[in-house]
């Protein structure tokens, strides 16, 4: 049974780098890994997606090891406004039967 596991919560301080790791042991060859951010009273917002190695955009980096059984979202120099819940998502594509395996979310608290 496919499952996506991530820590329930994390604490950090302004200016630090934060790394959130997600475990997805049953990932298949055609599956993609995606991360979302959610603020209170808002819908989740796409941050970054990757397949293997490293992906970087203006917001974050995503590190995926060769076996792809885990992934790490890296937020450089966090600020108070990065306090949010971060979700890991594995997208399993099989024709029309697309399956989205969500983690339960990691609540990140950034302290002054």
């Amino acid at each position: 049974l496919a499952k996506t596991t991530q820590p329930i919560s994390m604490d950090s301080y302004e200016g630090q780098e934060v790394n959130i790791t997600c475990s997805h042991n049953n990932i298949a060859t055609n599956d993609y890994i995606t991360w979302y951010q959610q603020f209170p009273s808002q819908g989740p917002r796409f941050i970054i997606q990757g397949y293997k190695t490293k992906v970087t955009n203006e917001v974050a980096s995503l590190f995926i090891p060769a076996d792809r059984k885990s992934s790490t979202l890296s937020l450089p120099r966090v600020s108070l406004s990065d306090t949010a819940v971060y979700y890991c998502l594995v997208v399993k594509n099989a024709g029309n039967n697309r399956k989205l395996i969500w983690g339960l979310g990691t609540s990140l608290a950034v302290n002054p």
């Binding site: 993609y32 009273s41 989740p44 697309r98």
Partner: protein, 114 residues
Amino acid sequence: DAGITQSPRHKVTETGTPVTLRCHQTENHRYMYWYRQDPGHGLRLIHYSYGVKDTDKGEVSDGYSVSRSKTEDFLLTLESATSSQTSVYFCAISPGTVNTGELFFGEGSRLTVL
């Protein structure tokens, strides 16, 4: 921001009454999803659609039905609301591109069943 709107944004209703939530998109995306979000459970898929009149069940579909008669609208119906369906409901849309995990979410509909 992606053109996706949910209505109503807030609703209070009584047990046993029917409720319909509407999701409207202006992006012409193929996939549309209905999720519910509850503390400790994250996002749970209720139903999704991969085209007009093409829908499938998610992991928590009992007590819910959906319809998609045109590309832009995806309706979620609770035939007879129960207190356990008190939740925040999110609609999401996604293009039909293979492998993409990029979903665009609405702002949510908060439903309270008394």
